[in-house]
């Protein structure tokens, strides 16, 4: 199998199966989460204001007062990483073409040089977050295999994409194939690891906001 064959495999068979597992896994997990159900809360809600859940979905995106000072690394590096990741996934021209072919709709893309800079920032931020996780005793104690796995499979597509674009380590065709394969690994693992927060983060925020609202707790 030469490099172009590997790329074709990554773009066809491997991609198809990765997407199948990804879609299947996400559907399964969502059914599982929603299917759990909750006991009916018989208590009278403390607060009558509705929309606590919806509001919390957004307010939790900002650090609570004083937290930015107490833990700047997590907040700043976390933001830089997530923004970089989202921009490169959804606003890099070749990626937009991928979504266009899959969803039938496309959108404008950003200049490659800008995306490139954000990718570098995201990779550095991920490195900083890993170092922080290893150095901070609380974070280290809370971290398990799943956390490091999630970090690794997120870093790989960023790193291979960057290296493919800049022709580093391997020649472009092989690096592009490895990049696509690393994305497929991410797709396969996403529904079954902590990376599922991609889908569950706003669901859980809504739930927390709603339940705290009922109990009259500011959230």
């Amino acid at each position: 199998m030469n490099h172009l064959d590997l790329l074709t495999f990554a773009r066809s068979t491997a991609l198809n199966w990765a997407l199948v597992i990804f879609v299947l896994g996400v559907t399964l997990r969502l059914f599982e989460i929603f299917g759990l159900g909750r006991k009916t809360d018989l208590a009278k809600p403390r607060s009558n204001s509705c929309g606590n859940g919806w509001r919390t979905m957004f307010t939790r995106s900002f650090p609570p007062e004083g937290m930015l000072k107490r833990d700047p690394v997590t907040y700043i590096a976390g933001y830089v990483f997530h923004v970089g990741l989202l921009v490169v996934i959804f606003l890099f021209a070749p990626h937009v073409e991928f979504f266009r072919s899959l969803l039938g709709i496309g959108w404008a893309s950003l200049p490659s040089a800008l995306v490139d800079a954000l990718v570098v920032a995201a990779i550095v931020a991920l490195g900083v977050l890993l170092a922080h996780r290893l150095n901070n005793p609380v974070k280290r104690m809370l971290s398990g295999f799943g956390d490091y796995l999630a970090l690794a499979v997120t870093l790989l597509p960023l790193l291979t994409g960057y290296m493919a674009y800049h022709h580093l380590l391997f020649e472009y065709t092989l690096m592009l194939a490895l990049h696509i394969l690393s994305v497929e690994l991410l797709l396969v693992l996403l529904p079954f690891t902590k990376l599922f927060h991609t889908f569950s983060v706003f669901i859980s925020r809504w739930y927390n906001g709603d339940i705290f609202g009922r109990k009259g707790v500011a959230s």
Partner: protein, 371 residues
């Protein structure tokens, strides 16, 4: 093209031949300078090359055509005629080429076997076309199978130049489902140096450049891991493309020949395979440096890469899936939902079983026994 006459091999040097044809030394040096530049050699090598080629005996060449479309031959015969490339080509001793030679039938085959005998171990073998392994009858020449002729002729060759994607990697005949069991030259011949010059067809000047290298140095140029001369196949078309800056700026043509395409914007979205295609099209160009496919508004189809025909749709961007996925995704949602329902049912029944099995604890049971 001259008729097969093995005696020609003994006739004079390339330099004498050039003189006879009225080619000046200045013209010849210009040609050698161009070739050295293309081969990525230092400029000082132009003189060395000129001297070496001038003194060289006319190189005996046997050209075998197997499962091919004659496009490679068409390409090389149109190599900027009548420039020096053609003359150089003419001045090698092309002892056998069944499309170009005047001799036919037994006389043609005789010229091949005679040349093989007289230039044993010295002749250059050029092959275009793939070799069918499914059934020898799929392609024969003078009643001889392609496989048989290749093995027989390769035995006494100094080196082999596989010309075109069919000879180098199997090409279109090898495309799925490969009805003839087509294979490349390199799949069969393992004990001879092989230079792969892929392309469908290859750039004429790349073919002549490789021959010039062989005539000058008597050995084969530096090759990459796919057996291609690095000087011509060292970089992707994308990296040397004049539309490349627009790719970096995110400026793309949306349809063929739209305003953006005419302005020179990148053809990536129209399916250009330039980023994964190693060839010299963007630098040497075609038809005496006039243009190349991307310049004329059509994306690269990657014709010089192995298995390019099966590497996904020609008109879809490289980042797009190479085969359909949507139908499978609908099934995935259905299976995911069904599995999710089963898990939900399982979770709920576990919960109600736990509830049912729950025994109430009385106050008495909680009182510690005094010791």
């Amino acid at each position: 093209m001259k008729q097969a006459n093995p005696q020609d091999n003994q006739l004079g040097t390339v330099g004498e031949g050039l003189e006879q044809r009225g080619v000046t030394r200045r013209e010849f040096l210009q040609f050698c300078t161009a070739i050295t530049a293309m081969l990525a050699l230092p400029p000082s090598m132009a003189e060395v090359m000129a001297a070496a080629i001038s003194k060289a005996k006319r190189q005996s060449v046997i050209w075998l055509s197997f499962q091919e479309c004659t496009g490679c031959t068409e390409s090389i015969t149109r190599s900027h005629s009548p420039t020096l490339e053609n003359l150089i080509f003419d001045l090698i001793s092309l002892d056998y080429h069944h499309t170009l030679q005047a001799a036919s039938a037994e006389a043609a085959e005789l010229s091949r076997t005679q040349s093989m005998k007289e230039n044993e171990g010295k002749y250059l073998l050029i092959v275009d076309g793939s070799i069918p392994m499914g059934n020898p009858g799929y392609s024969t020449i003078a009643g001889m199978s392609n496989y048989g002729m290749l093995v027989e002729t390769a035995k006494g060759a100094a080196a082999i130049v596989a010309v075109g994607t069919c000879a180098t990697y199997g090409g279109i005949p090898k495309a799925d489902p490969n009805p003839t069991g087509a294979v490349s030259v390199g799949d069969i011949i393992k004990d001879k140096p092989i230079i792969n010059v892929p392309g469908c067809p290859p750039i004429p000047v790349v073919m002549t450049g490789v021959l010039a290298h062989f005539l000058t140095f008597g050995n084969i140029p530096e090759l990459d891991n796919l057996g291609r001369p690095k000087s011509f196949y060292g970089e992707t078309i994308h990296d040397r493309c004049y539309r490349r800056p627009f790719y970096d700026q995110g400026k793309f043509a949306q349809t063929f020949d739209d305003e953006a395409a005419r302005k020179g914007w990148c053809l990536f979205k129209l399916g250009c395979k330039g980023p994964v295609t190693y060839n010299a099209c963007a630098t040497t160009k075609w038809n005496d440096g006039t243009s190349f496919p991307i310049q004329s508004g059509h994306g690269c189809i990657g014709c010089s890469e192995p298995n390019f025909w099966d590497a996904g749709p020609l008109y879809q961007a490289l980042s797009m899936p190479a085969s359909a996925t949507t139908s499978m995704l609908g099934g995935a949602v259905a299976v995911g939902a069904a599995a999710g329902a089963v898990i939900t049912w399982h979770n709920r029944s576990t919960k109600s079983a736990a509830k049912a099995a729950h025994a109430k604890v009385t106050v008495q049971e909680l009182i510690r026994e005094e010791k």
